[in-house]
């Protein structure tokens, strides 16, 4: 059947195909250019101007200020603080999310009964609203009468006010994110684990390799591309954290949970559109750099 079309280069339907393709592409591309690609470029342009909310109706009549907005940000102690908070959030959140997701995935890969049930249960928080989950966790974290401190009091530990302390607030918010997000990675890792041929593990077992050795020398190397993918999407997500802090702490105490996204939102609310755009582009840059770094880190051993 395949030999019925000898020369593909003179495909008579090529012109009609191109017309149809453009008709099919048109609705998406129109919306995409106006509401996504256009704003991405406009934001970049705005970051080099002094545009404010008062210039709303005349966005092209603003002054070019070069890299002033970027210099302002770098010199701004609050921006440096929120940048540090954001990095800390990623550093705490990504390894913990990856580790728990991998552990549960390996565990679920060893059982067959109830596997689907467990998978649904662990995945459940992923699909729920961050706002709603944050409202609930704010209660669980209360110093007096909160569920976590009540459990701790059973073993005679007087738990702190998790969200009231400048030192604990950010890790506490990050912990909630780990709880909410690891299920998504777990499902991806479990799918990856199931592509590893059983024979490899069985052969290694016959050769006398123990559970840890098999995990270290078979599972981890085979799972490397999946782990890379998981690290990249989790990192991109955590760099943008905002809603959790907005609901649980309003960025406090003393800006301890304010993130770069939160800072951008604040500057937008104050009407500093140019500065907000510059801050958002620095976040974009961080996303690109983190992604590139993770590719190098997890790919290098191949």
């Amino acid at each position: 059947m395949a030999t019925a079309t000898p020369s593909r280069s003179v495909d008579p339907t090529r012109g009609r195909q191109a017309v149809a393709a453009w008709v099919l592409a048109l609705p998406f591309m129109a919306l995409f250019l106006v509401f996504t690609a256009g704003p991405v470029l406009a934001s970049f342009g705005m970051s080099f101007t002094d545009i404010r909310s008062a210039d709303m109706r005349t966005p092209f009549a603003v002054s070019f200020v070069g890299v002033d907005n970027y210099l302002d940000l770098i010199g701004n102690p609050l921006f440096r603080k929120v940048a540090f908070n954001t990095v800390l959030y990623v550093v705490l959140g990504v390894p913990l999310t990856m580790g728990i997701a991998l552990a549960i995935a390996v565990g679920l890969n060893r059982i067959t009964r109830l596997r689907g049930f467990f998978r649904v249960g662990y995945y459940l928080p992923v699909i729920t609203s961050i706002v709603a989950v944050s409202v609930v966790w704010k209660f669980l974290y209360r110093e007096d009468g909160g569920l976590f401190n009540t459990v701790l009091s059973w073993v005679s530990i007087a738990g702190p006010g998790w969200l009231d302390s400048t030192a604990l607030a950010l890790p506490s918010v990050a912990l909630m994110s780990v709880w909410r997000n690891f299920g998504a990675l777990m499902v991806i890792f479990l799918a990856g684990l199931q592509t590893i041929p059983k024979e490899m593990n069985e052969a290694a077992e016959v050769d006398g390799a123990g559970g840890w050795k098999r995990f270290r020398h078979i599972t981890l190397p085979m799972l490397r591309p999946t782990l890379l993918f998981g690290a990249v999407i989790t990192g991109i997500g955590y760099l943008q954290f905002f809603e959790e802090a907005y609901v649980m702490t309003h960025g406090g105490p003393l800006d301890a949970t304010r993130s770069v996204s939160y800072f951008t939102y604040d500057q937008f609310s104050f009407g500093n559109y140019g500065l907000a755009s510059a801050a958002s582009y620095l976040l974009f840059l961080a996303v690109v750099l983190l992604t590139a770094a993770q590719f190098r880190l997890l790919r290098s051993k191949d």
Partner: protein
Amino acid sequence: MTTTMTPAAGVAADAPVPADRGRDDRRTPWWLWLVLGLGLALMLVPFAWMAISSFKPDSEVVAVPPTWWPETVTTENYELLFTRLDFPTYFLNSTLVALAVTVGNVVFGAMLGYALAKLDFPGKRVIFALVLMTLMVPGVVTFVPLFVLTSNLELTNTLPGIFLPFMAGPFGVFLMRQFIMGLPDELIQAARIDGAGELRIFASVIMPLCGPAMATLGILTFLTSWNNFLWPLVVAQTEDKYTLPVALALYATGQNATKYGLLLAGAVVVVIPVIAIFLALQRYIMQGIAMTGIK
């Protein structure tokens, strides 16, 4: 590979599975069940506490020492949400926005996905690269110019202002393109030989085969839109345009922050529909995957 097997061979290949399953579970150590069970409890306890406590009066939600089961059962929180506050409107807004976003992404994503997967046209590579690149762009990058744009289009504080910017996302195109690339070219060539026009091929040959991919994309898009927060927060300025997460977040941080029972009931209203959809369609999705897997 498996498609070339005779039915008998297929059955024979499946036969060892039950035996294998039994052996696997006998080798599972008891502590693994314990860890998995405790972990699952940790996932579900916050939701259980939320649902149970939404039937407590405010004072009992924050009582010291706390109660697990309510001492006084009350439906007052829900009555307040649905009668004095405008949660029916927020619920309707969230639903309309999520439906519009879902239809847009599934239909437009399938159309462009098909063009990118199976048709030959100038500009194809540029479009695909452009769409893929925006997968990495953080949400905060676009929202400032987007707000200027919607203001000038007079769309702030309207529902179209909330859903229009999200109707054409890169994820849908990517997913549909990957799925359609897996469909055999022969189907399209045969339809062309039969004289079908290009758009007709898309509508009556390709679309009917895209059910599983469109279901997956549709569910994921609906859930993402339902939970979306930043953009609706910026665009919706009066209460009648709030979506559920916006209303809940503003109650939780505003004057109603001490109406504890109300906040929990609100969280239940935001979360329960999503959990119901997920649990209901989870089985359907799994079945779909299993069926296409056997074929």
